[in-house]
């Protein structure tokens, strides 16, 4: 195994922004990683390993900011807390990378496990978008599924590529494979919408 380090140049980024992105990414990665393991998806697993490198970079930049910001003992006391939380979030992203490695190293998870898991886990789902689904050609922002049903699309697989954490303007296409997370009721509705079984966004 070879280690890769990004060449990191210091640029001032507010601590808040760095922390926010580390927190968001680490949680996103966990959900994506479970999906990659259960659906045995290598490309997704590899993308997670890439994201892990990104989080490492962000964590390093944050540590620099923190060290630069401390002027006295009081500052330092308050800032060690920030540093500890960032390092914990970084560990969570490492944990996600560990899950991804189960897939990239061809260890895999027994198919029966995935089968049972899909029955009991109600927070994560994978749905294929049918050509007749009303989601087709609509943007994530326009659909606003988060507000509508508490469902967040965290990744889109289109042909061979993954779009991770898609932006508001990203449009959904027929045959896309979507990974989403949310509350169980919303998830159920979301699956039906993707598969074209339900043709109305609202009840």
């Amino acid at each position: 195994m070879h280690l890769r380090f990004e060449k990191i140049e210091y640029k001032p980024i507010p601590v808040r922004e760095l922390l926010l992105e580390i927190k968001n990414l680490s949680e996103l990665m966990i959900d994506l990683a479970y999906s990659a393991a259960l659906f045995n998806d290598k490309e997704l697993a590899e993308d997670i390993l890439e994201l892990e490198i990104r989080v490492d970079t962000l964590a390093y930049l944050l540590e620099l900011e923190i060290l630069v910001a401390a002027r006295d003992v009081e500052d330092a006391q308050a800032l060690t807390g920030v540093s500890q939380v960032a390092s914990a979030a970084d560990k969570i992203s490492d944990a996600a990378a560990d899950i991804a490695a189960i897939v990239t190293q061809n260890i895999g998870v027994h198919p029966i496990v995935s089968e049972i898991f899909e029955k009991v886990e109600e927070r994560l789902t994978r749905a294929k978008v049918s050509e007749t689904s009303i989601l087709v050609d609509k943007s994530i922002g326009e659909l606003d599924l988060v507000a509508r049903m508490g469902v967040d699309i965290i990744a889109i697989r289109r042909n061979k590529d993954w779009i991770i954490n898609p932006k508001e303007m990203e449009q959904i296409k027929g045959n896309d494979c979507l990974i989403a997370r949310g509350a169980s009721l919303g998830i159920k509705k979301f699956k039906e919408l993707s598969e074209g079984k339900k043709q109305k966004l609202e009840d």
Binding site: R16, G81, G108
Partner: protein, 192 residues
């Protein structure tokens, strides 16, 4: 695969899902403890961490004692490793909670980052005119209404982990997680 084996598999996966859910609950509670600077919540995370250690050991023992065939072994190694990961996440959550237990007011930037995150934790006060008052969690269906999950109820300085039949009382603080979009809806329900 025999019926007996199938049941055994299901048990193992159920246990794993419990580990996964507990580790994620711990993360949410840990961030909540920072947001509220709440020692009780932070201690709850530490208690769960002890529980996780035991549950994880039991899970591994169960996998190891389920006589699977050689060619199936690899698939189970994956499952064991998933278990290890939940344990790592639990540890990370405990580290976050430690920041609160140290007794120094968390840096404001932490609260900001938690509030602005895509998945957030929040807390609301239940007032007298709230439709939630004196109803059970099952009756009010907060996830369906708001997309937020109640993680803990804080009452008289103590934290209770809610069950569906837990009754919401006036003066309760509900600690919940979900997408930031649901926060306003929950606030409106709890303190209209």
């Amino acid at each position: 695969m025999t019926q007996k084996q199938q049941t055994r598999f299901e048990e193992i996966v159920q246990r794993f899902v419990e580990l996964k859910d507990t580790s994620e609950l711990m993360m949410d509670l840990a961030y909540s403890s920072l947001l509220l600077n709440s020692k009780e919540l932070a201690e709850e995370v530490q208690k769960l961490e002890e529980y996780m250690d035991k549950a994880h050991t039991n899970f591994e023992l169960q996998v190891l004692s389920s006589k699977f065939k050689k060619e199936e072994a690899k698939g189970f190694l994956g499952l064991i490793r998933l278990g290890v990961v939940t344990e790592k996440i639990a540890d990370a959550a405990a580290e976050i909670a430690e920041v609160v237990l140290r007794g120094i007011e968390p840096h404001p930037v932490l609260k900001l980052a938690i509030k602005e995150a895509e998945e957030t934790v929040t807390y609301v006060h239940v007032t007298e005119n709230s439709p939630l008052a004196n109803k059970t969690l099952r009756e009010v269906g907060i996830p369906e209404e708001t997309g937020m999950w109640v993680l803990a109820i804080r009452r008289d300085g103590k934290c209770v982990r809610p069950k569906p039949e837990s009754k919401i009382e006036v003066g309760d603080v509900l600690i919940a997680s979900g997408y930031a979009e649901g926060e306003e809806d929950l606030k409106k329900l709890a303190s209209p």
